[in-house]
Amino acid sequence: MTSIPSPEQLAPEEQPLYAPRKRVYPQAVRGPVRRVKWAVLILCLGLYYLLPWLRWDRGPGMPDQAVLVDMAQGRLFFFWLEIWPQEVYYLTGLLVLGAIAIFAATSVAGRVWCGFACPQTVWTDLFMLVERWIEGDRNARMRRDRKKVWSWEDRGRKAAKHAAWLFIAQATGGAWVNYFNDAPTLFLQFLHVEVPLGVLGCMALFTFTTYLLAGWAREQVCTYMCPWPRFQSAMLDADSFVVAYRAWRGETRGKAKDPKAGDCVDCGACVHACPTGVDIRDGYQMGCIGCGLCIDACDDIMRKLGRAPGLIAFETDVNLAASAAATSALPPGEARLAPGMAARRIPRLIRPRSLMYAGVACVVAALMVFGLATRQEVALDVLRDRQPVYVRLSDGGIRNGYALKLSDRRHASAQLAVQVEGLPRGASWQVLDGPGLDAAGRPLVATQADGVAEWRLLVTLPAAALPPAESTPVTIRLLPPGGGHALASSATVFLRPKP
């Protein structure tokens, strides 16, 4: 019987160009970190699946879904907010805010986003939970996968697992399309088997990617696809909390009964629990997503051995170094625990790096709040005619044409009077095919409820009243009929030929 050589045993020329995947079989753990992760998972998934079903009354004719991306009408509804396509900078702001918030969190507490709230982590956690329920824990799964021939039970469990995964994946895709359609209507369409093809396509895509990424790709996404682990170290420093093995306490590893050994008994529980298959005792590394499950696994072992927990913990580099310095002269084992822990200092959460990230986040948030608070309900855009820039009339007067674009977010149409300011006495203006004049003789325009209306404004100056300058600054205002405070205004110019 010939044995298959491992890649390391091959001659350099014979080494494979591609690395076979090392299968990871994470072991179930219990403990406070795991409980927090379950809570975050329930919160995230609950939000994701249920948010589209939340109703929000916006009045007649408007969608009553609290969160809805209405592609056909070009509207993004978010509770009381209604974002129009030209305001996509709010979305940009939200993404910038999200990125900086992650930077800030990372500078303080390492990759908490990766370990707790990233969709890849949340869905993979859910898929692993299902896998554990159906296929058993680490050892059972490893045993099954090593078998040359699967029994009918093995096959049944594998099939059941994939069916359950596909069901979750399908529900994920099904929830995604709810953000772009009215959820109850779409549900009824499902019941009547009359779902639009585009919706089905989207669902199929998200079903497939969820199944692939959370079921099959898992840690490969974090280590090979995601760019974040490659540059997250730029946000970390020696004062950041990261998942760390207290080598000063654990080394030298040895048997539990060995009096010369440290606290680490080399049981491998931390490695077995790791969803990405890394050994945290090698130090902080790119494969570590900061989920902290190894902390729970190690604490469990320490408790059983009657030793203090916290051999692996969220810890800063500064404290690791301080503890190591304080205990280097002491013998390994219990003697090191008290002085090592005493050498730790309260971590500096507030430092230039974290302050800067938090500050930038606050500035962006303040800008967005300011933008939203001062947002005009009626906005006026004036586009001057460029061809021709002016029209000479038969009596020698000069006329300029303007396109008025009125966007009105309010849900009812309204009439507004047009006021042109900045021109000499004698100027007159009219709105083509407008709804009439107000009491003061100003032309009226009617806004389009929840939309954009366009009108043409013609401004005329008689020959005698023409100003000497070629260009005269003009302000166009929209007033309530009869006068009052302007709802919107826009600056432009009135042009005349060279005198």
């Binding site: 050589p5 890649p7 390391e8 045993q9 091959l10 001659a11 350099p12 020329e13 080494q15 494979p16 160009l17 591609y18 690395a19 076979p20 995947r21 790709a217 490969q220 090979y224 005619d385 460029r386 061809q387 021709p388 029209v391 000479r392 009339l393 038969s394 009596d395 020698g396 006329r399 044409g401 083509l432 095919d433 366009e454 043409r456 013609l458 020959a463």
Partner: protein, 290 residues
């Protein structure tokens, strides 16, 4: 095995065995699934080659896709989609179109495109006209009438269009070229014409020109040069001059006459398109009611 690969002491990773000036390359291979993803993209491209017309001399590909036919079908579908609106435009009277916001907006948008296709060559992209006899359509000075119905008539039948019996037609005599006036008399008439818009400088010449104007010009241009739209005679008393309002240009117009032309579009454009053109011209602001 012949040579066990060298292992890098620092990282614990094997090396590829390659060495440059003492630097050795670590062997950190990509995962296998990555390789298979790469193969899948190659398979995809091969499938694409066969399905679509990508290879020379193989016709249309298995899907029978011909880009030109698809574009034609797309074009036809768009025309068909526009037909209900075009039918409404053909049936509605012009005032109805202006009163209906949806129809009006559609007509202005369509008219702008049609104007760019058929009219902008002479009248300018925004209807501003051009020097040398291409009138502005945005001002309030109209040779043949500025009411919408009159404009529609002009577009449909053109001006001096040879192939249209109902075309707009006017003829001014070539007073100098045909020997009806002498060069000096033309100068006097030009002086009188300038004085009609208050720009005269030689009162004696203007007075001589006035009697010649009364004999030769008032029949069409009116006593005070106010023009006559029935005959297509322009006003000579306003600030708009189609062929230039300076003394030399006016004298040249009297001497040799002017006769601009415009094609008759009735036979070339859909009635709905002509309607849209009229509504678009109305949106320029110079028209004079229905």
């Amino acid at each position: 095995m012949a040579n066990a690969p060298e292992r890098d002491a620092h990282s614990g990773t094997t090396t590829t065995g390659h060495e440059w000036d003492g630097l050795k390359e670590l062997n950190t291979p990509l995962p296998t699934w990555w390789l298979w993803t790469f193969y899948a993209t190659i398979a995809f491209s091969l499938l694409w080659l066969v399905l679509y017309p990508a290879l020379p001399f193989t016709g249309t590909g298995l899907l029978g896709s011909i880009a030109r036919q698809e574009a034609d079908a797309d074009h036809a579908a768009r025309i068909a989609a526009a037909e209900p609106m075009l039918a409404r435009l053909r049936q509605a009277e012009l005032p109805e179109i202006l009163a209906d916001a949806e129809l009006r907006a559609y007509a202005i948008a369509g008219g702008r495109t049609a104007f760019g296709n058929s009219c902008a060559g002479c009248h300018g992209a925004g209807g501003q006209g051009a020097a040398g006899g291409f009138p502005s359509l945005a001002d309030d000075d109209w040779l043949w009438g500025g009411r919408l119905a009159e404009i529609e008539q002009t577009i449909r039948h053109g001006i001096r269009a040879p192939d249209d019996a109902e075309t707009r037609l006017s003829q001014m005599p070539r007073f100098l070229a045909d020997g009806m006036l002498t060069a000096a008399q033309v100068g006097d008439v030009a002086e009188h014409v300038l004085s009609l818009s208050g720009r005269g400088t030689d009162a004696a010449a203007a007075a001589r020109g006035a009697s010649l104007f009364a004999e030769n010009c008032v029949a069409c241009h009116g006593e005070r040069g106010e023009g006559n739209r029935e005959l297509g005679a322009p006003s000579l008393a306003d600030a708009v001059w189609l062929y230039g309002g300076d003394r030399a240009s006016v004298a040249r117009s009297i001497s040799y006459a002017r006769a601009g032309v415009m094609p008759a579009w009735g036979a070339r454009l859909d009635p709905a398109v002509i309607r849209m053109l009229v509504v678009y011209l109305h949106s320029l602001g110079g028209t004079e009611g229905q």
